[in-house]
């Protein structure tokens, strides 16, 4: 392998990681408005070289945090989406069966040639042992996301998305990767990362994760933001928005969260809605516009039906 010209990522030398404040301003530079708690958890994760487990309802910016960290630190992002039935051949590595088969066929053809002049069976076996065994070797290895992340010499951000969707066996299999940044391949041995990746795991709490996995990670729960933080997020994500509209729409969304809904709108819905309102050239929040665009915000028919009669009231509140 050739030596990479780029220096490996080092958390102690990176100016973005000098302090929590530097991290907050750095993240806001790439468009992610982080609360202090988020930034602290990320800071600790990088300093202690531990994976970070991010929990929170859908759409609060769990995945976005990993993407923003990657772009802030200028590291490549490797993403692995988890689902039920994900196993190591899809997550870690797989043998290139096809090539292995071709290899054995070539081997068979050449074998007779190579061994034909051996005087006896024992001599032929000796010669056979002398040849390199390539069948299980790195060239035949097809790296999958986890292994790719360990092989990045300059370091990278590894995002293991929705870990709660995978099954328990896979979770156990992750333990080695997460605590020692290495994998064991039975046929070859242990492969260890030169530069440990920064690992994010996200979870929607579909099921409780095992204690062993939780123990190896720092934990970060991202709650729904308060009004001030959400306004900042909207302003950063939707640059053209007027301050007045921003205040109004965030106030509206915040009061929606107080209602008893099947799925409360989260940050991503707020941002989408802000974009929709800009597209429709809405200068201020009005009952008509809100009614037309409510489906951006609410994803269930019952929720929309429950909110519709109260729109006028809610708009008045958020304006006042």
């Amino acid at each position: 392998m050739s030596q990479s010209p780029v220096a490996a990522f080092d958390a102690d030398l990176s100016p973005q990681l000098a302090s929590v404040e530097a991290l907050i301003s750095g993240l806001s530079g790439v468009g992610y408005i982080a609360s202090r708690r988020i930034a602290t958890a990320l800071y600790m994760a990088v300093k202690l070289q531990k994976p970070i487990l991010v929990e929170g309802t859908a759409g609060v910016g769990k995945t976005e945090l990993a993407l923003s960290t990657a772009s802030l630190l200028g590291l490549p992002l490797i993403r692995m989406q988890c689902y039920e039935g994900l196993d190591e051949s899809k997550a870690l590595y797989e043998w290139k069966y096809g090539k292995q088969l071709l290899y054995t066929q070539i081997l068979k053809d050449r074998m007779g040639e190579a061994l034909s002049d051996a005087p006896s069976m024992d001599a032929a076996m000796d010669r056979l042992h002398g040849m390199g065994d390539l069948f299980f070797s790195e060239p035949f290895l097809e790296p999958r996301p986890l292994m790719k992340a360990l092989q990045e010499r300059t370091g990278c951000v590894l995002l293991i998305d929705e870990i709660d969707k995978s099954d328990e066996a896979f979770e156990a299999f992750l333990l080695e990767v997460l605590s020692a940044y290495q994998v064991s391949i039975p046929e070859i041995g242990v492969l260890k990362a030169e530069t440990p990746p920064i690992v994010f795991l996200t979870s929607n709490n579909v099921r409780d994760l095992g204690d062993a996995l939780k123990r190896r990670c720092l934990h970060l729960h991202i709650p729904l933001p308060d009004a001030a933080l959400e306004q900042k997020i909207v302003a950063s994500r939707v640059p053209g928005i007027e301050a007045k509209l921003n205040t109004q729409l965030v106030g509206f969304v915040q009061s929606l969260r107080g209602l008893d809904l099947r799925k409360s709108p989260s940050i991503s819905e707020t941002v989408d809605w802000a974009r929709a309102l800009i597209l429709l050239n809405a200068g201020a929040l009005e009952g008509e516009v809100v009614r037309d665009t409510l489906n951006v915000l609410l994803k269930f028919e019952q929720d929309i039906a429950a909110v519709e009669p109260q729109i006028a009231e809610l708009v008045r509140q958020s304006a006042g």
Partner: protein
């Protein structure tokens, strides 16, 4: 500071935040990185290392506030000596000169007193407190360790001598009282930190074994706690049994499908397929007697089953006392905690008649039962001498995967009076006494396990 952190971990453990030795090491490393100067940074960083779920974060925060608040609370010193007088010890008997505590009290040195109290608390092992009844004894030990007996001797001597020492003795007396109050408050906080959680755990353990058909019903306070407990039990089971739907037969090659797949590669078996087994999700029919003696148990059974929705494919619930009705709709419209009262409003307080209830079921809902269905019947089988209709239960048994009868009464009562349990028992795969939450959890776990192939 290391000792302080260790105490903090113990307080966290008492509040049911798991801190393993490895996490403790992480926390120490965290503290090395962030230092103590920035309180918010210190708290957030520790929180990220130690608390591992949303609830744990909340508990962490409350423990953090109580714990690190204590350290900043200085002990209130004695009222200052009257201005002009020189040595505050003036007039006191000679013992007073040798007592550090008396000096600290009279000098009004709050910080030193707080420190002395910490040290004494360590010697008196105040943080080992477990029960609220230990508070008085530990307060006394704490004060003794601080040297209260010396003060009492000094006071007695001063009163005996009289004269100029009286004023100083008065001040000392006041300071002693303040100190006793401080010590009591200190022990109280320790109790809150280290023992409040264990008290709750004890209580929950007790509730898990509490009889559900107790005379006079269940205390409303207990009821709320038991509901929460049932939900937690259900979540635990759901987590355990929700994970695998396809269990691989490790190493069993599926030859037929492998050959089929190899067609595309000219007969080369590139894609190798292994055999898997599909795991059925349980399908459950619950039939609950809601007469007075069984209603509480029925409520918990329904709560339990409804909290299992992740692992249960289909759940139909029926309730009866005289006639039988389906309660699916009631349970959809109301939270499960209050649904049982709705059901009682509709059909409660009729004379229990198992035969009639089974007839109603056979007439309207028998097609719901197939060979995947587990039927759980909850009732005391006291049918007021009406025809028990064993034939219908036999039909149900033949059609279903299993019939499980849970009876809140112990089995020695099963053949007494109007109970026909011993006659129903023959048609059940399992008939068990189920009168506590613990038994309920065990039985439902058994049901779930029968669906998992070996």
């Amino acid at each position: 500071m290391q000792a302080a952190l260790e105490d903090f971990f113990r307080a966290l453990r008492a509040a049911d935040v798991r801190v393993s030795p490895a996490e403790a090491i992480d926390a120490h490393r965290t503290v090395e990185v962030v230092g103590f100067s920035d309180r918010e940074l210190f708290r957030d960083a520790l929180c990220a290392t130690l608390a591992k779920s949303g609830e744990e974060v909340a508990r962490f925060e409350s423990v953090f506030d109580t714990f690190f608040d204590r350290r900043s609370q200085a002990v209130t010193p004695a009222p200052p000596p009257p201005s002009g007088s020189g040595d505050p010890m003036e007039g006191l008997p000679p013992e007073a000169q040798e007592s550090d505590l008396a000096r600290m009290l009279l000098d009004g040195d709050g910080a030193a007193l707080a420190q002395a109290m910490e040290a004494a608390a360590e010697r008196a092992e105040v943080s080992q407190i477990r029960l609220s009844t230990q508070r008085a004894r530990l307060t006394r030990r704490l004060l003794e360790e601080m040297g209260l007996s010396e003060i009492e001797r000094i006071l007695a001597a001063a009163r005996r001598l009289g004269g100029p020492g009286e004023a100083a003795a008065d001040r000392l007396e006041a300071a002693r009282k303040a100190l006793a109050a401080q010590a009591s408050a200190y022990v109280e906080r320790q109790h809150e930190l280290y023992a409040s959680g264990s008290g709750k755990m004890l209580r929950e353990e007790m509730l898990a074994r509490k009889a559900l058909n107790a005379e006079g019903g269940i205390d409303p306070v207990d009821l709320a706690m038991m509901q929460a407990l049932v939900k937690r039990m259900a979540k635990r089971l759901a987590d355990r049994y929700s994970r695998r739907r396809n269990v691989a037969w490790t190493g069993h090659l599926d030859v037929r499908r492998t050959l089929r797949k190899s067609m595309g590669y000219g007969g080369m078996p590139f894609d190798i397929v292994f055999k898997t087994k599909k795991v059925d999700k349980p399908s459950i029919v619950a039939i609950c007697d809601v007469s007075k003696s069984v209603a509480a148990a029925a409520q918990f059974l329904l709560t339990f089953l409804y909290s299992l929705n992740e692992v249960v494919d289909r759940l139909d619930a029926f309730a009866f006392s005289g006639r039988m009705i389906s309660v699916n709709k009631v349970l959809d419209d109301h939270p499960v905690e209050t649904a049982i009262f709705e059901v009682l409003k509709q059909i409660g307080f009729q004379q229990t008649d198992y035969g009639r209830a089974l007839e109603d079921f056979a007439d309207q809902h028998l097609d719901r039962i197939d060979r995947h269905t587990t039927v759980i019947i909850l009732g005391d089988a006291r049918s007021n001498y009406a025809n028990p209709r064993l034939d219908i239960l036999a039909t149900i048994q033949q059609r279903s995967r299993a019939v499980i009868w849970l009876n809140p009464e112990p089995d020695s009562y099963w053949s007494q009076g109007d109970s026909v349990m011993n006659r129903y028992e023959r048609f059940c795969h399992v008939a068990k006494t189920c009168n506590t939450l613990e038994q309920l959890e065990r039985i439902i776990e058994d049901v779930l396990r029968t669906y998992i192939p070996r």
